[in-house]
Amino acid sequence: MSVIAQLEEAVEAGKELGPCVWFYILMVMGRKKELGGPVKKRLIAVALGRILLWAVKRNGRGNVVSLKATYVRNAIILYAKEHRCYPYDSAQTSPQVERIIKAHMRAIMAVVRRWVRAAPPCDPNNPTVCQRHLMVRADWLRQFLSGLA
C-alpha cells in the first residue's frame, strides 16, 4: 500500500496522527513518485485546516483574519517550530523549508481561496474587499476548520 493511500485511509478513519504529520504533508506535496500518487486537495485542505486552526486559536485577538500567503506561510512554519517538527527539532531556522513551502504555496493558496469564497462576507457593506484581501471572520473560520478537522 502506498504512503499516500495509507495516509488517506488513516485520515478518513479518523486515526489519531501526530501533529507534525500535517506539516510533513505540506512539505512532501511535490513527491508524487515516493508517495505513490498525488496528494489530493482534500488531504491538503485537512492538513492546512489543522495548522490554521492551531494558528487562529493561538492568536485569539481580532474578529477578522486575513488569509494572505504571508500569513499562511508564517503559520505553517510557526506550527512546525512549536511542535518541533523536523528540521525545527534541531534548528531554529531553515531556509530550505521556507523555500519548499514557497514552492507549494500555489496549491495551498488555491485551497485557501476556495474557503474564502465559501465564507460569509466579513463586512456585509463591503463584500468585495473581503474577497480581495482574503479576509474571513475569525469565529466562522474556527468553526469551519473544526468541522474540517
Binding site: L7, C20, Y24, G30, Q92
Partner: protein, 341 residues
C-alpha cells in the same frame, strides 16, 4: 640645493658604501622613462606626477638625480620612474649593477632615499624589487615598519595551524551537509514513521483494555463468560490449533492465542532496563509522566515541566539561545567551568 652640490654628495655616499666608478650619465625624461621599470603603476597618473614635481621642487628634494639599479628583473629607479619622469630637464643617472649583491643595493637605495629626501614617496615595492627578501629588508630597517609583517612566533604558528584545522573541519561539515539527503525525503520518512506509530498504539490500546471488552471487540464476546474449566479446555484447543485455524483473520487469531495463553490477563507494558533498581519515587514519577505519552520528546517535555515548573518550550528556547550565544556546546561547557571557578 644646486645640482653640483647634490652630485658631489651622491659620489661621497657611493664611496662610503664601497661603490666606485659610477659616473652620472645625462639623460632626458623620455630616456629615463624608457630605461626604468615602473614598480607602482597606480601612481602613474599625469596629475599625480605634476603634483609630485611641485612638492619636490618646493621642498628642495630634486628628481633630477636618478639612481638606476640593475637587477635580475630589470632596472629599478630611485626616485621611481612613475612620479619623476615627466619633468622637463636633464636627469643625472647613476647606474649601479646589483646582480650578485642585491642586498647591498637595497642598503644604498635606502641611503639614497634619505639623501634625496623622498622617503615617503618610495614604497616597499621598490625596495622589494631591488632585493626581494622582505624579512631581510625588515631586519635591516630598510623597509618601513608598516610594510613589515612580523614572523609568526611558535604560539602564533600553533594557533594558525589550529585555525586551519578548524576551517578544514568546517568545510568538511559544509560538504557533508550538502551531501545529506534532501529535506523533503527526510520529511517523507518522518511522515511514514508517524503513520506507523499511529497504527501501533491502536494495537497496544486494544491489548491494555479490559480483556473481556477486548474479546467483545474482536467479536468473541462469548469467550468472556467462560469459567476456569472452559479456559483449560480452550488451552488444549489452542494446542490442537483446530479452533484457532478456524479464525481466518491472522491478527485476531494471534490475539486470541495470546489472550488464552495469558489466562485472560492484560499484557504488562514493557519497562525500561534496570527499572527495578530505580528509587520508588522516580518509578512513580516515571509511570505518572509516561502515561499517555506518544514519544520520548513528549516524556522529556513533561519531565522538565514537573522538574522546573514552567513551560518547557521556554527552556528549550533558552537552551538553544545559550548554545548559540556561546558558540557551541563545548564553549558553553568552558563558560560553565569559568563561572564555577
Amino acid at each position: 640645493m644646486p645640482i653640483e652640490v647634490k652630485l658631489e654628495q651622491v659620489q661621497k655616499l657611493l664611496e662610503q658604501m664601497g661603490i666606485r666608478n659610477v659616473e652620472p650619465a645625462a639623460a632626458t625624461a623620455a630616456q629615463v622613462k624608457k630605461m626604468c621599470t615602473e614598480t607602482e603603476k597606480r601612481r602613474a597618473t599625469e596629475n599625480y606626477v605634476r603634483k609630485m614635481e611641485e612638492v619636490m621642487g618646493f621642498a628642495g628634494a630634486s628628481p633630477y638625480v636618478v639612481f638606476a639599479f640593475q637587477t635580475q628583473q630589470g632596472v629599478i629607479c630611485i626616485p621611481d620612474a612613475n612620479f619623476v619622469v615627466g619633468a622637463n630637464g636633464i636627469y643625472y643617472v647613476h647606474k649601479i649593477d646589483c646582480r650578485g649583491d642585491s642586498l647591498r643595493c637595497a642598503q644604498v637605495a635606502d641611503k639614497v632615499v634619505d639623501l634625496l629626501g623622498i622617503r615617503s614617496l618610495i614604497s616597499s615595492t621598490t625596495f622589494l624589487a631591488i632585493h626581494p627578501s622582505e624579512q631581510e629588508l625588515c631586519e635591516l630597517g630598510i623597509l618601513p615598519p608598516t610594510a613589515c609583517r612580523k614572523p609568526p612566533t611558535e604560539k602564533e604558528e600553533k594557533t594558525e595551524e589550529e585555525e586551519e584545522e578548524k576551517e578544514e573541519e568546517e568545510e568538511e561539515k559544509k560538504t557533508s551537509v550538502t551531501q545529506e539527503e534532501p529535506l523533503e525525503s527526510v520529511a517523507l520518512r518522518k511522515l511514514t514513521e508517524e503513520l506507523m506509530r499511529a497504527q501501533r498504539p491502536a494495537v497496544e490500546e486494544q491489548k491494555s483494555k479490559d480483556p473481556k471488552a477486548a474479546l467483545k471487540e474482536l467479536g468473541l464476546g462469548w469467550l468472556a463468560d467462560l469459567g476456569e474449566a472452559d479456559i483449560a479446555a480452550l488451552r488444549s484447543a489452542a494446542e490442537d490449533k483446530t479452533l484457532l485455524n478456524a479464525l481466518k483473520d491472522a491478527e485476531k487469531r494471534s490475539a486470541v492465542r495470546k489472550f488464552i495463553e495469558s489466562g485472560f490477563a492484560a499484557p504488562q507494558p514493557a519497562a525500561p532496563p534496570n527499572f527495578a533498581k530505580w528509587p520508588q519515587k522516580d518509578v512513580e514519577l516515571f509511570t505518572k509522566l509516561a502515561e499517555g505519552t506518544r514519544s520520548l520528546h513528549e516524556l522529556v517535555v513533561r519531565y522538565l515541566e514537573a522538574e522546573f515548573g514552567c513551560d518547557v518550550s521556554i527552556i528549550y528556547d533558552i537552551m538553544q539561545d545559550l548554545i548559540k550565544q556561546a558558540g557551541g556546546c563545548e564553549q558553553l561547557q568552558k563558560m560553565r567551568r569559568r563561572f564555577a571557578t
